[in-house]
Every structure is written in structure tokens, then in C-alpha cells.
Amino acid sequence: MVIAEAVQAEIRELMACYPEKRGALLPALHRVQQELGHIASETASELAALFEIRPIEVMEVVNFYNMFYSTPQPAHHVYVCTNLPCSLRGARDVLKGLAAHLGVDAEGNTEDGRIHLGHEECLGACAYAPMLRVDDRYHEDLDLEAAKRLMDELD
């Protein structure tokens, strides 16, 4: 089994919160991804068995949502918001500057495979632009220098 027994037990508890157990699929995917980093096809098959649905039904959910990954991921995801309010306040210069600083394309992984840099749509921080998200955390009111320092401090 790829999904640990303890995590499976947590998923069964989540299922009990919903009138139909499939309601717990997104929460279960978040939980499993937190544990394993991504949802491989083998993981999807195990989840499908738990939820009594077909593996393809798990994979189509994984592929529909931006926050689920079907392939192995770097340790950190860095997303610069480039929607209009952020663009008006220099977000795209921050993204380009960070790409140069990390030696990656505007969307890509660092050579050591530790950091993924990309852009994201509005994160609900419009008055505090430019901003970026590192994994689960928002960093707001940035400029390029502050953003570079954040990258250098990532473990």
C-alpha cells in the first residue's frame, strides 16, 4: 500500500462528515498529497478502491484542479500572482527578476529540482501587491529584492 494505514483511517473519518463518502475526495487528496507530494496513478487506484469509484474518476479530479499534482514535485512551489491588480503594481517584473535569480524560465524548476517557479491567478491579496505564495504561505507587499531574499532563505 502507498497510503499509510493511519492516513486511510483519517480518510474514513473524513468520509463520515459527508452524506456520500465521495464528498471527502478533495479533502482526501489534500491529505494524501501532503504525505506523498503528488498523486501517482498507483495512489489514485488505492483512493479509488477506498471511495469505491473508478481510478479514472480520481485522476480526472486530480487533473481538473491546479493544486493537485500527478507527477513528483520540487520541495517548494513559488507562485507569483500576475493577475491585473498585481500586474499594475509590478508583479511581472518580480516574476522575471526571480526567474533570472533562480536561473529558470518564467515557469519551471531550478536545476537542483528544489524550487518550482510559476505564476498564479488572483490570490485575494490585491491591495498588497506584488505578492507571491510559497507553498501554503502568502508573502505580500514585496519588491524584487525582498522576493529574492525569500528565495535564498528557503530550506
Partner: protein, 431 residues
């Protein structure tokens, strides 16, 4: 944690006070008394009547009358019923629900309790956008406190009414803010909107009768119960009562949140509250209510921010996300940001939307590069017209409207790109 709004009213009055995020602090400010009175002393029908009478309109974008929505729940139906809280705030330019969750979770939960009792719901599903990790933690803490105090559970406040709350995190799909897309996602599926009818009151979460309201909508409810419909109607305009929390971003001196009565002139929001345009530059255009709402040019900022007035200018209040652009801004680049977003977020179910958003994006990019043809402007309008009113949900309309708005007010920007074969705004933000 977001900064408290610069201008506050009843919703955000205590947001600067850290203690307000705790159950004890919220109760010190009079919290949960409205719910206690509603559940112990009022009938569900009386509550619905009161909220209907207050004229409260949904604050999630569509502006539907909240009490009326509640009254659609069937009364002669034995099936379980649910309440759903739409906390999937993802409309670009909007960040008010975030502060209502971070600093006012108990206020929203009290509104949920009142609404749940009114529509007879046994459970509320709160669907929070996946990226809102911190607001989710704030909400989880509040729910745990409410449960520990017997404000949620088998016997709410000793009344015999049973209600509990389940928090579900989304996973990064704008379409899940559409109420039936949200319901699909809540059921563990792709967030593809449903055909309506049947509406959620008949066939909602897990196929059961459901009412879906936005975070801010619920947050107004305790205040209406506490102070009455007449008080609520004394704020705002005759047709649009109450306040809302405007989020102001872009080229202003003081971007932030401002809780103001509906009907406050857009110019007052931009120039007084948000401090106007920095650097002595002039304003060029303002998107009044989140990215889906058509832009207004500098000459039309006198408009009161309420739907009855905004509709006359062919736009809407939406989520109250005000995005301000100064005179250096290239409106074709603005169009590129908008069309890219909608192309990326279309769920792909309906042809008009899936193909239309892609074509609009290709054409505006071509114009921005200086490779546009004179007929491209009319092609854009033609595509937009064919996307409107043709699809399962309003996403396609929401993608068409801002492009139509930009061409209505800033056609000259597009024509200059075509004529000069380049972008005439060297100082504008770059793509």
C-alpha cells in the same frame, strides 16, 4: 493576517481587535445573542420574512435577494436540507471574504446558525478556496470553539436544534465559485456547473434541497436580526441597502479595504478613501466590481456603487473589487490579462466558452504585438456576442463582458495598436 479596513462600519467595526477572532471576544461585543434570540424566540418563517424585508442582497456577485432565496427551500419535503457557504473567493480584485474569515469567522458562523435555523438545514458545508490556507485555519479555530461551547452540535444553545458545520477546501479552480460548480466540487467531482433548473433549493448539495450564500452575505445577517430591517434599510440606497467591504487595488495611493454604504460614489472611493492616483497622474479607467465587470472610463466615476445605477452604465457591483488604472495603462494589455485568465479558467464544458475564450485571447494578443488587422476589433465583438447567454453558467458572459467594456470605452487604444503596429504605451506594465 490582513490589515483591518481603513474605513469600518458594522461588519468590520471590531476587526482591528485581535480578541474579536475568539468566541469570548466576539461575545463581549454582543456576538451570538442574535442567534440565541432567533433560535429560541422566533419562527423560521419570521426570520425569513425579516431578512426578506431588510432587502439584503447576496454579496457574492449576482446580488439576488437573500430572504427570497431562503424562501425557495421546500417546506413539505422530508429530505435532509443543507446550507452551503461559498467561501471560494477568487474573483480577481476581490479580497473581502478573506478578511471576513480571518477577522470575523464567528460573525459569519452566527449568520450561518440563523440561516440554518430559518431554512431547517441540518448541516452547513463551508467551501473555502484551496489557496486560503490561513483563513481556513482561522475558520477551523472558530468552528472548534463554537462546537466546544454548544453553539454547534446536537443541541444548539440548548434549543434542541441540531446543526453542524463541515469545512471543505477547494483546490484551485475559479469555476468552483459558481454555485453549482461549487456543489459538484463539494461532492468530490470536477467543478463543472450544472444545468439549471433544477435550482439548488430543489436539487443542491448531494441532490438535497440547499441554499448557497456567500461569506459576506451571512456576515450581515446577525446585524439585521439585532437591529431590525428598518435600521438596515436606513443604510445604503433604497434598492441596495446595507454596506459592503470594497477592496481597492491598482494605481491608488492607499490600496486596501473600505466598508462603506452601497451607493457611495465610485469617485469618493477612489479619490478620498483610497487617496487618489499617485505621482500626479490621471485616472484612465476603473473596473468597479471584480474582473468580470465591465470597466468605466474616467468620466463616469461619479456613479453611485449600487446595481441600479451601475446597470445604467452597463456594468455591475459584482464583488466590489475596485481596480484602478492610471493614464500610463495600455488597455490592450489589460485585455490580455483578462482574456488569458478566462481562457485558463474555463471549465471546458460548453463550446462557446471553451473556444470563445481561446479566440478572444489569441486576437487581443495579436493586436498587442502589433500584428492585428482592422477587422479584428469587430471579430472580437462578434465572438463576445456569441459567448453571451449561450452557456450552462454565467462564466462565459463574465468572460465576454469585460472585453466588450474595454472596446466600448477604449476602442481608440485597440485601433492605435493596429494602425501603428506596436503598443503606444511604453510606460505601461509589461506582459
Amino acid at each position: 493576517m490582513l490589515e483591518a479596513p481603513y474605513v469600518t462600519s458594522y461588519l468590520s467595526e471590531h476587526f482591528a481587535d485581535e480578541a474579536f477572532t475568539t468566541l469570548e471576544g466576539y461575545q463581549r461585543a454582543g456576538g451570538y445573542e442574535a442567534a440565541r434570540r432567533a433560535i429560541h424566540e422566533m419562527s423560521p418563517a419570521d426570520i425569513i420574512e425579516l431578512v426578506k424585508d431588510s432587502g439584503l442582497q447576496g454579496r457574492g456577485g449576482a446580488g439576488f435577494v437573500t430572504g427570497l432565496k431562503w424562501s425557495f427551500m421546500p417546506t413539505d419535503d422530508e429530505r435532509p436540507r443543507y446550507l452551503v457557504c461559498n467561501a471560494d473567493e477568487s474573483e480577481p480584485g476581490s479580497f473581502k471574504d478573506r478578511i471576513l474569515l480571518e477577522r470575523g469567522s464567528h460573525q459569519m458562523l452566527e449568520g450561518i446558525l440563523i440561516a440554518a435555523f430559518a431554512v431547517g438545514a441540518e448541516k452547513t458545508f463551508i467551501y473555502v478556496r484551496g489557496e486560503y490556507a490561513h483563513p481556513t485555519r482561522c475558520l477551523e479555530r472558530a468552528v472548534a470553539e463554537a462546537r466546544a461551547h454548544g453553539f454547534l452540535g446536537e443541541n444548539v444553545m440548548g434549543s434542541g436544534f441540531a446543526h453542524d458545520v463541515v469545512i471543505t477546501r477547494g483546490a484551485g479552480a475559479y469555476i468552483c465559485g459558481e454555485e453549482t460548480g461549487l456543489l459538484e466540487s463539494l461532492e468530490g467531482k470536477k467543478g463543472q456547473p450544472r444545468k439549471k433548473p433544477p435550482f439548488p433549493a430543489e436539487y443542491g448539495a448531494f441532490g438535497m434541497p440547499s441554499t448557497v450564500n456567500n461569506v459576506e452575505t451571512f456576515s450581515h445577517v446577525p446585524h439585521i436580526l439585532r437591529r431590525g430591517a428598518e435600521w438596515f434599510k436606513s443604510i445604503g440606497t433604497e434598492k441596495s441597502p446595507g454596506t459592503t467591504i470594497f477592496g481597492v487595488s491598482g494605481h491608488v495611493a492607499r490600496p486596501g479595504l473600505f466598508e462603506l454604504p452601497l451607493g457611495t460614489p465610485l469617485s469618493e472611493i477612489v479619490f478620498e478613501h483610497a487617496g487618489g492616483i499617485p505621482g500626479g497622474r490621471k485616472v484612465k479607467g476603473v473596473i468597479p466590481g471584480g474582473m468580470s465587470m465591465p470597466i468605466l472610463p474616467a468620466g463616469e466615476l461619479d456613479v453611485p456603487m449600487a446595481n441600479e445605477f451601475l446597470r445604467e452604465r452597463k456594468t455591475m457591483l459584482g464583488t466590489g473589487g475596485v481596480m484602478v488604472m492610471d493614464e500610463t495603462t495600455c488597455m490592450v494589455r489589460v485585455a490580455c490579462v483578462i482574456t488569458y485568465f478566462f481562457r485558463d479558467e474555463s471549465c471546458g464544458q460548453c463550446t462557446q466558452c471553451r473556444e470563445g475564450t481561446g479566440w478572444m485571447d489569441k486576437i487581443v494578443r495579436r493586436i498587442e504585438r502589433g500584428a492585428g488587422e482592422p477587422q479584428d476589433l469587430d471579430i472580437l465583438l462578434d465572438v463576445a456576442a456569441k459567448m453571451e447567454g449561450q452557456t450552462i453558467c454565467a462564466f462565459s458572459d463574465a468572460a465576454a463582458w469585460p472585453v466588450q467594456g474595454l472596446l466600448r470605452h477604449f476602442r481608440d487604444d485597440f485601433e492605435r495598436h493596429v494602425r501603428e503596429h506596436k503598443c503606444p504605451y511604453p510606460e505601461s506594465f509589461e506582459l
